[in-house]
Every structure is written in structure tokens, then in C-alpha cells.
């Protein structure tokens, strides 16, 4: 495997992981709804989308297929789709209902957790890693 091909892996190198954590700590020192927070969030979004668009429509290498039959795989995939659909439907049903305290959405629950600054920073670092994972070659 060439060095270029190994440029992105699911687990970033130590220096990349540290830069994620430092950036997350700095970014989350800003309060929501402020321009510094908007800019701190927009920078990785712009970088990731630019990198993704720069790669164009190149088809990735197909994911390795495990030695199980197609029907079993289809059942597993369907299970995921059903569970994700249930979660999204429940989120939307709560989002359309008021008051928020009685109908807690994921973001309202996150807002309660984010009162703790290190947890907000950890969530931001996790969000950065997620982009790394999505862009993995």
C-alpha cells in the first residue's frame, strides 16, 4: 500500500488527533450563535467539502465483502435501515411537538450535555474525526 493510499485511515495519527482536540477546545471556547463560533465551525466544513469536491466523482474501492450469503447481508442492511428510519421518525415527531422540555429532541438533549465545556469540546473533536472517517480512502 503506497504512502498516498495510506494518507487517510480510520484512526488518525497522533499529531492529527491532537490537532483535532486542540482545534475543538479552541472552537468550543466560543458561545453558540456568535460569529467566532460560526467561523470556527465553517472552517472545517469548507475544508472538508472542498477536499471532497476536489476528489470529484472518483469511485472508491468497493468495501471488502465478508463471506456471508447475500440474503443474510440484506437482512442486516434492512435492519439498519429500519432502525435508522425509526430513530429519524421519532426525532421528527418530537421536533414537531412542543414544549421542547416534554418532547426532547437529540439536539435539546445535547444542549443539556454541552453545558459541560469538556463534553462539548469532545463532541466537536468527534465531529472532526467523523469527517476524517468519511473522507478516508
Amino acid at each position: 500500500v503506497s504512502a498516498a493510499a495510506r494518507r487517510f485511515t480510520s484512526v488518525p495519527s497522533g499529531s492529527v488527533a491532537i490537532s483535532f482536540v486542540v482545534y475543538a477546545a479552541v472552537a468550543t471556547s466560543f458561545a453558540p450563535w456568535t460569529w467566532p463560533m460560526r467561523v470556527a465551525t465553517a472552517i472545517p466544513i469548507a475544508a472538508v467539502l472542498a477536499l471532497a469536491l476536489g476528489r470529484g466523482r472518483h469511485r472508491r474501492q468497493p468495501a471488502p465483502v465478508r463471506p456471508v450469503d447475500r440474503r443474510t447481508q440484506a437482512v442486516a442492511f434492512t435492519g439498519w435501515l429500519v432502525l435508522i428510519a425509526i430513530a429519524v421518525s421519532f426525532q421528527l415527531a418530537l421536533y414537531r411537538s412542543q414544549p421542547r422540555d416534554t418532547y426532547p429532541t437529540l439536539s435539546s438533549l445535547a444542549a443539556e450535555v454541552f453545558t459541560v465545556q469538556p463534553l462539548r469540546a469532545a463532541a466537536f473533536a468527534l465531529w472532526l474525526w467523523l469527517a476524517w472517517y468519511f473522507l478516508e480512502r
Binding site: R59, A76, A93, S107, A111, W127
Partner: protein
């Protein structure tokens, strides 16, 4: 029972059930060498439109959670 129930505790329990179901399915599929959530995401990344949807969803999530969520 109406959905969603008009009760915070009941809604929190339903969230816990959904999370447990997702975690349980992940454990089950991983143990049986079936497609896990990582496999589903890997498949989505193989095709550029679904990869773009993933990245746009990621961008929306970050903006929503860190910029637009007050605490």
C-alpha cells in the same frame, strides 16, 4: 398511547430503547460477521452522491449542534 407520548420521562425511555436497539444490532451484526454500521457507511462512501449526502449531513450536524444549539 400517543406517539410521541406527552411525557418527558416516557420520551427519554423511548430514546433509550432506540439507542439500545441500535447498539444491540451493532453488537449482534459484529459478532455474526454481518454488515455493521461501519459497513453501511463504507458502502455509502463508495458512491459519490451518497458520499456527498453523508458530508452534507455531517456539515448540517456540526452547524446545528455547535452554532445553533443554545445551552
Amino acid at each position: 398511547m400517543s406517539l410521541p407520548p406527552h411525557d418527558r420521562a416516557a420520551n427519554l425511555v423511548l430514546w433509550a430503547v432506540i439507542c439500545a436497539a441500535l447498539a444491540g444490532w451493532q453488537i449482534l451484526t459484529a459478532r455474526r460477521q454481518l454488515p455493521t454500521i461501519a459497513t453501511v457507511v463504507r458502502r455509502a462512501r463508495e458512491w459519490w452522491p451518497s458520499r456527498l449526502v453523508l458530508l452534507l449531513g455531517w456539515a448540517w450536524l456540526g452547524w446545528h449542534l455547535f452554532v445553533r444549539t443554545s445551552y
